[in-house]
């Protein structure tokens, strides 16, 4: 296929082509439903199998994944996804089972989910876990609905506010609104820690909970965590964790010990299940015993006759039609079993080591807003380059020319021109050194030849795209 002509599925379509064959009807035909229920016409492309395979293969070649190269996207934990775990999830006994099958016909699947609940509770230092949230943001939703149900069950109806740090992921405030709470934004101090004075002032009897990412989105561990927990709890609030950054604490620190009442984990980040280009993920919630009876349904229980699905006594209810993203759970379970406790400790050790190595090597060249030991990721600012007219976006795009996926940029919002780099533990020193070399060269280019960065990337199938035009005149589909 020539690169200069742009093809979409209708361009391959020709009457009479088929992409797959289906058997003939082997029973007598029944009378069709009344005309009013029947479709008049269906217009879909008609394309052969070979053309489809070439088309989708060509698309895959225009996509960058962890298997393609270094993917230091901060906050996203783009670690390597072990191949064997993919194969395990595709075993027919896991892949080809129906969610409504009687539990006693799928004891292996039930056991795996039951054990995964226990493993996640142990890793997070919590009393119980619910696996049904299908993504991190849905785990957050479960967490805040539990907060609401918890306070209501105690007759505390005044608590309608949630404290959300200004450095939080966008999902935190968005979830707060979905659950009918009001967002109160908590400022960070200059050192990247939560401002304790503000917390002390704002934490009152109208506040239901503080949602906190730990380590914070600045990649820092807040040493005041015990004080934070005490202020929140002493005044009747709950401490809700966003577990997005668990990779740095794995096998060392338990959220439960830190004072969290609830934390959602992202199996697709910490537990190495692939991100799929934007899902599927899985976002189990782990809770202390005070919230266990509010967990979303279903949870897996064990009784005399084996494992079964149960609904906790004051459950917030179902979040999806089935039991959560089982296919993702299988891979995460396999990951935990293949690493064991010592393996998990090695993960956090190398994740934190790699991030600090990048921090030390790059801090002469890029502004480091919080110059202290970081955890699994480091947040630089492109402010120095911005003064010369080169933005964080330009730096990110130029990295593509060097063969790397860009880091996260413009997040967290509290850092101007933020460049958030998360190397993960699955990268070698050689890869980090190559990345460091590229970043240093880019810093030099930014000073010498800003235009080279403004016009980057140069080697991709398309260059910078008109995003403003895309939003102003939305073209969201073809028609045929």
């Amino acid at each position: 296929m020539k690169e200069d002509k742009h093809y979409l599925l209708p361009d391959f379509s020709k009457t009479g082509k088929v992409g797959c064959r289906l058997p003939e009807l082997d029973v007598p035909a029944a009378e069709l439903p009344p005309q009013e229920f029947r479709r008049q016409e269906l217009s879909l492309p008609e394309v052969s199998e070979v053309e489809l395979v070439r088309y989708f293969t060509s698309l895959s070649r225009r996509n960058y994944g962890v298997d393609t190269g270094f993917y230091p996207l901060g906050s996203c934990t783009m670690k390597y996804n072990p191949k064997w775990h993919e194969d395990i999830a595709h075993l027919t006994g896991f892949q080809d089972i129906h969610p409504c099958q009687p539990a006693d016909s799928v004891p292996g699947a039930m056991k795996l989910m039951y054990e995964l609940q226990a493993l996640l509770a142990e890793i997070s230092g919590m009393a119980a876990a619910g696996l049904s949230p299908m993504a991190g943001a849905q785990g957050e939703l479960a967490g805040l609905l539990m907060v609401r149900a918890y306070h209501q069950s105690r007759g505390e109806k005044r608590r309608h506010k949630i404290l959300v740090p200004d450095s939080a992921h966008g999902t935190n405030p968005a979830t707060t609104s979905m659950c009918g709470f009001t967002v109160e934004t908590l400022p960070s101090g200059g050192d990247g820690n939560l401002d304790l004075k503000s917390l002390d002032r704002m934490m009152n009897a109208e506040v239901a909970a503080l949602t906190l990412t730990m380590p914070t989105t600045l990649g820092l561990f807040d040493p005041n965590i015990a004080e934070i927990s005490a202020i929140v709890h002493d005044r009747g609030g709950l401490l809700i964790g966003d577990g997005a950054n668990l990779n740095s604490l794995l096998g060392r620190v338990k959220f439960g010990d830190l004072g969290f009442d609830c934390v959602q984990l992202n199996l697709h980040k910490t537990f190495s299940t692939p991100h799929g280009g934007g899902g599927p993920g899985s976002g189990p919630v782990c809770v202390k015993s005070n919230l266990a009876e509010f967990l979303p349904a279903p949870v897996i229980a064990s009784g005399k006759r084996g494992y079964y699905f149960a609904t906790p006594s004051k459950s917030i209810g179902r979040l999806g039609a089935a039991h959560g993203n089982f296919g993702v759970m299988v891979k995460a379970y396999a990951y935990i079993r293949s690493l064991g406790a010592a393996g998990l400790t090695e993960v956090s050790a190398n994740a934190v080591l790699n991030a600090n190595y990048l921090k030390e090597k790059l801090k002469p060249y890029y502004r480091l807003p919080c110059d202290r030991t970081c955890m699994h990721e480091v947040v630089f600012s492109g402010a120095r380059q911005k003064a010369k007219g080169v933005s964080a976006l330009d730096i990110a795009k130029r990295l593509i020319d060097y063969g790397f996926h860009p880091p996260t940029i413009y997040f967290p919002l509290v850092v101007a021109e933020a460049i958030m780099i998360e190397p993960t533990e699955t990268e070698s020193k050689e890869t980090l050194d190559a990345f460091i070399k590229a970043m240093i060269e880019i810093a030099a280019e930014a000073a010498k030849d800003p235009e080279l960065l403004h016009s980057a990337p140069h080697i991709t199938p398309v260059r910078r795209l008109d995003e403003v035009g895309a939003a102003r005149k939305p073209d969201l589909r073809w028609k045929m």
Partner: protein, 434 residues
């Protein structure tokens, strides 16, 4: 032995620590108060690929897989055929090891695939626009109810009682945070309560039967409510699409389009709406645009609806689109095409009717309704369905869903193209023995 997933060697680590100026890795955790460091973890020992494989294969073999069992179970998740190319395309690791395509220049593959997905779903449903996907059908229905609330400013929703009970529960969970009241309406109601943001109807309904969707659309619109339809994508090879009968929002479980059952997840929430409601839509959208040299390309667009930009004023907190599952649906719809989608729907329809005709002739069995149905229907059994299912399981058949709490001795059966005539005949003859 070192982990195959951690390439640093001891020498690498020593060199890196030296450059950092730390004496040990533990020193890097100095910000964690000492009392929280070094927690103890009670976890099973590490296993190699070989050992783990043995154990997990053993676990998987304990499950009655549909590879081995005939299946007459549906109720929202369906056993359908999908051609081999679907798995091969989804298995391209450039797709599955990528993140959300926030950097479009290196993500044109998945972006263009999502644009194809949005287009194919619109062609199938007759709706104006599809988003890039949501978690599953249940949460898509719940987000649709919230969206209707935003559009109409109303705090009540009406749901027909023939909607999948699990979906009704999910809707209840999602709206509970915003103090929205849910009314369950029995079939044949004449009027929608005042101030309802929407009427939610499932077509075919949970029991497999076809609803008078045109009539319900009129009732909803007369009351100033949005008409929300939950549909079965496979049925649209034969049945009228929601865009033809006045749906304002149409949602579905997309699993049947090329995805294995996987014990119910991951699934795919198909979410479509009319043009005028585009800006209230939750979830991700891909749009076509051009690059600086005028070449066509694709980007995530209209992100000002989304949480990472709009934060507490976003249309939803959703931050994923089940992209890989949507990719499978894209390849599936492209592979089946016009004739394939029509054929699958017809196979399901005729086989289900063949089974229903045969079962209703059996002594002690009857059909719960004579209404038109698609691929699912409810039978009344002479004994509790649970007993029948236990018997069938011993004969390597997974029977229908026990709905005896809703219909006396009722069993909801589902027949698809996966059920050969021989299988159906075997089911019928086993039912006869009771």
């Amino acid at each position: 032995m070192p982990s195959p997933y951690i390439p640093n060697t001891d020498r690498d680590r020593a060199a890196m620590l030296q450059d950092i100026g730390a004496s040990s890795v533990d020193e890097l955790f100095r910000d964690v108060p000492a009392k929280f460091r070094d927690a103890r973890f009670n976890l099973p020992p590490a296993l190699t690929e070989l050992e783990l494989g043995e154990e997990l294969r053993g676990l998987s073999r304990q499950n009655a897989s549909l590879d081995d069992y005939a299946c007459f179970l549906g109720a929202g998740h369906y056993h359908h055929f999908f051609p081999a190319l679907v798995g091969h395309m989804v298995g391209r690791s450039e797709f599955y090891t990528a993140y959300t395509p926030y950097q479009p220049e290196v993500s044109q593959g998945i972006l263009q695939a999502i644009y194809e997905y949005q287009s194919l779903v619109c062609q199938l449903t007759g709706m104006y626009i599809s988003n890039a996907g949501m978690y599953d059908g249940g949460s898509a229905a719940a987000e649709a109810a919230l969206m209707a609330g935003r559009i109409t400013g109303r705090k009540e929703v009406a749901v027909l009682s023939t909607v999948n009970p699990a979906y009704r529960e999910v809707i209840g969970t999602y709206v509970s945070g915003q103090d929205i009241t849910v009314h369950a309406l029995a079939s044949g109601f004449r009027e929608i309560p005042d101030n309802c943001a929407c009427l939610i109807v499932q077509q075919p309904n949970f029991f497999g039967y076809l609803e008078d969707v045109t009539g319900y659309a009129r009732l909803a619109h007369d009351a100033g409510a949005l008409f929300i339809v939950i549909f079965d994508p496979i049925s649209l090879g034969l049945l009228s699409p929601p865009g033809d009968y006045g749906a304002d929002i149409a949602v579905a479980e997309g699993q049947p389009l090329g995805n294995p059952l996987s014990f119910g997840g991951p699934g795919l929430g198909i979410f479509t709406c009319r043009q005028e409601h585009l800006r209230q839509m939750p979830g991700r959208l891909v749009g076509r645009t051009t690059d600086v040299e005028g070449r066509p390309g694709y980007v995530l667009t209209m992100a000002t609806r989304e949480q990472h930009i709009r934060r507490e004023r976003a249309t939803s907190n959703i931050c994923t689109n089940e992209a890989l599952v949507a990719l499978a649906a894209t390849v599936y719809l492209a592979a089946l095409g016009k004739s394939g989608m029509h054929r699958v729907a017809e196979l399901c329809y005729h086989k289900a009717h063949y089974a229903a005709e045969a079962i209703k002739k059996l002594k002690g069995y009857s059909l719960a309704s004579e209404s038109p149905f698609f691929k699912e229907f409810v039978i009344r059994c002479p004994v509790p369905p649970k007993e029948i299912n236990q018997m069938l399981l011993k004969k390597k058949i997974i029977g229908g869903l026990d709905v005896s709490h809703l219909v006396d001795n009722g069993m909801l059966l589902c027949v698809t193209e996966m059920n050969s005539r021989q299988e159906i005949d075997r089911l019928v003859s086993l039912l006869r023995t009771l």
